[in-house]
């Protein structure tokens, strides 16, 4: 059963758009990250004027790339796992296991997200800004915190819906095989 097929079955309507939006955000940021480093280097060596604040922009870009795709890889179960026992786990047990793991992850991400947003608020309250471009550091912190919450929410909704689909598909194939 290919991951494309699961994706086509479990990601419809708003979820498909959400995945496209998050992937798009990451893709644009990554491309921008590539351009920023090039402009900086060319500016420094050829025109003797490096891009101001390129380090800050790089750091922010990495944060955006990582946390905009974090929800997607989480609900699609594309995080790095040890899967040597997968062949010994029945589809039903795998489904129950996914529900438990997703719920635990959601609780953990909820609390850590809450703390990160608190730190973000505090940083904004102190008026902390980045060194060259004076971008409030709290913005990125809040973005990371909110994306933790988004991931937490999607894990118990889309994540579980997806594994339900996987269970249905494997049941159907089992039926077909037995006929």
């Amino acid at each position: 059963m290919s991951s494309e097929r699961i994706q086509a079955l479990s990601e419809k309507g708003p979820i498909k758009w959400l995945a496209l939006f998050l992937n798009g955000l990451a893709a644009i940021t990554l491309f921008a990250l590539m351009l920023i480093t090039c402009v900086d280097v060319i500016g420094r060596y050829v025109f003797n004027s490096p891009l101001v604040g390129s380090t800050e922009l790089t750091e922010m870009a990495v944060g955006i790339v990582v946390f905009s795709t974090f929800p997607i890889i989480s609900w699609r179960r594309e995080n790095i796992v040890v899967d040597i026992l997968d062949n010994y786990v029945s589809p039903k047990l795998d489904f129950i296991r996914t529900i438990i793991i997703n719920c635990v992850s959601t609780i953990a991400l909820y609390f850590i997200g809450q703390r990160i947003i608190l730190l973000g608020k505090r940083s904004l309250g102190y008026g902390e800004v980045s060194e060259y471009l004076a971008i409030p550091t709290g913005w990125m912190i809040n973005f990371i915190g909110i994306m933790c919450w988004v991931t937490a929410f999607l894990l118990v909704t889309v994540g579980i819906y997806r594994s339900l689909k996987v269970l249905q598909i494997s049941n159907n194939t089992l039926l077909k095989d037995s006929i």
Partner: protein, 433 residues
């Protein structure tokens, strides 16, 4: 000691029931930290949050998405087949020549791609059909790809070396310089393994046709892009012209231009490459963040110190300790995924290794070579799995059978690097000290 051992036991349990490795390390690290700090939840939450915030905006780690992007763009641009053609034109007429060419092409591809799995998967597509055509045995053909592919994480740029450098606070430049000669040594020893296989069974790898000088020059013309890209990126890093991040950015842009010139990009492909890169990056960062939270707990629990006391108590010689560590890696590598094995163990071992007076750059290379071995060691050799995924009609058993001489070559290389550290330290010392 007990606390950290219980922590480890919980971690292994969670990982075995398929909790994502990053989450598992983060959770155990968090609860362990709570326990060690007299049940202070707020302190542990703040520590973890700071790790998440700082790591995901770390300038040093920004090389990872850029190098992965460079590798993915080069993979899509089809340069791998040109690399294979070029090395075929020089080596194809020898006994086992196509496998020799595969190993060399893998090595060359590793010079622009920092991932072993990607190298194996890409080279399988271009080198398997000709080897089949010339009647190579499946086990030799696939084993040379699986083993050659492992070079991806050693020959710079290498994602694993970057992560090792961040965790142990070593210079990425020096690590990249140190990986170069052991990588070349790997190519030479793998070629030896091919020759040995063909010597034992000449039918496994017949000769290909010989090319004349003109054809060879023609074939070399196809690989100028790779040569320029590698020279600019690594030359720039070695020469101190740009930081690794800038080099990676330039490399990615160069790969983008090469892909454009070769007309292998349209908007859809570009979008796919970018989002695939972003997703790979995110999954790596999750593990790195988890590992950092876990290592906070391990250090707070004082495991590295206690290990050191244990070692001095038993009066083990430093070299013995290194061999024990290598032994542990080979056992763990048989079951674990390579990156997570590294992230789990490096925080514990590196303070010990450092206080025994070893060079951490050298140790990084040793660890990566052991990790390479784990990629082709049964039962869980990821490179072998990737290959049997790409080549649906070859079983993992066949590949593992052919891999044995390559595995032996790897062990020889590991011993050489351990016993003659100069192989790894020569280049960084010469360049930077």
């Amino acid at each position: 000691m007990t606390t950290s051992l219980i922590g480890f036991a919980c971690l292994l349990l969670l990982i075995m029931v398929r909790v994502p490795i990053g989450f598992a390390m983060g959770l155990v690290g968090f609860f362990g930290f709570v326990y060690l700090n007299d049940m202070n939840w707020v302190a542990a939450l703040s520590m973890s949050s700071r790790r998440v915030i700082d790591t995901s905006q770390d300038y040093g780690l920004s090389v990872i998405p850029l190098f992965i992007l460079m590798g993915n763009l080069v993979t899509r641009s089809g340069l791998s087949s040109e690399l294979y053609k070029a090395s075929f034109s020089f080596l194809g007429h020898l006994k086992g020549g196509l496998s020799l060419a595969t190993v060399v092409a893998c090595g060359a591809f590793s010079a622009i791609c920092g991932s072993s799995l990607a190298t194996a998967a890409t080279m399988a597509k271009v080198s398997m059909p000709p080897m089949r055509k010339y009647g190579y045995s499946d086990s030799l053909a696939t084993a040379s790809i699986a083993a050659g592919g492992t070079l991806g994480i050693l020959i710079p740029p290498s994602v694993i070396l970057v992560i090792y450098g961040i965790m142990t606070e070593q210079s990425i430049r020096e690590l990249f310089a140190a990986g170069f000669l052991p990588g070349l040594l790997g190519i030479i020893l793998y070629m030896g393994a091919v020759s040995w296989t063909v010597w034992r069974d000449p039918d496994a790898g017949p000769r290909g046709e010989k090319k004349n000088a003109k054809q060879r020059i023609q074939a070399l013309k196809g690989v100028w892009g790779v040569l320029i890209l590698f020279s600019v990126v690594m030359g720039g890093i070695y020469g101190g012209i740009f930081t690794p991040t800038e080099a990676a950015g330039i490399g990615a842009a160069g790969a983008f231009i090469i892909a454009l010139l070769r007309k292998s990009l349209n908007f859809k492909v570009l979008f796919d490459v970018l989002s695939e890169t972003a997703q790979t990056t995110a999954s790596l960062f999750v593990v790195v963040i988890g590992a950092l939270i876990f290592s906070n707990f391990i250090n707070r629990a004082g495991l590295p110190d206690e290990l050191l006391k244990l070692i001095t108590g038993y009066d083990l010689s430093p070299m013995m300790v290194i061999f024990v560590i290598i032994g542990i890696y080979i056992v763990l590598g048989a079951v674990f995924e390579s990156l997570s094995m590294l992230l789990l163990t490096v925080p514990i071992f590196y303070p010990v290794v450092e206080s025994l007076g070893f060079d951490l750059v050298w140790f990084g290379i040793v660890v990566v070579v052991v990790t390479e071995i784990s990629l082709i060691t049964p039962p869980v050799g990821l490179n072998v799995f990737v290959l049997s995924g790409v080549l649906k009609d070859v079983s993992t058993g066949t590949i593992f059978k052919g891999v044995t001489p390559f595995w032996t070559a790897d062990i020889i290389r590991l011993l050489l690097i351990v016993l003659i550290p100069t192989i790894a330290t020569l280049l960084p010392n010469w360049l930077y000290h």
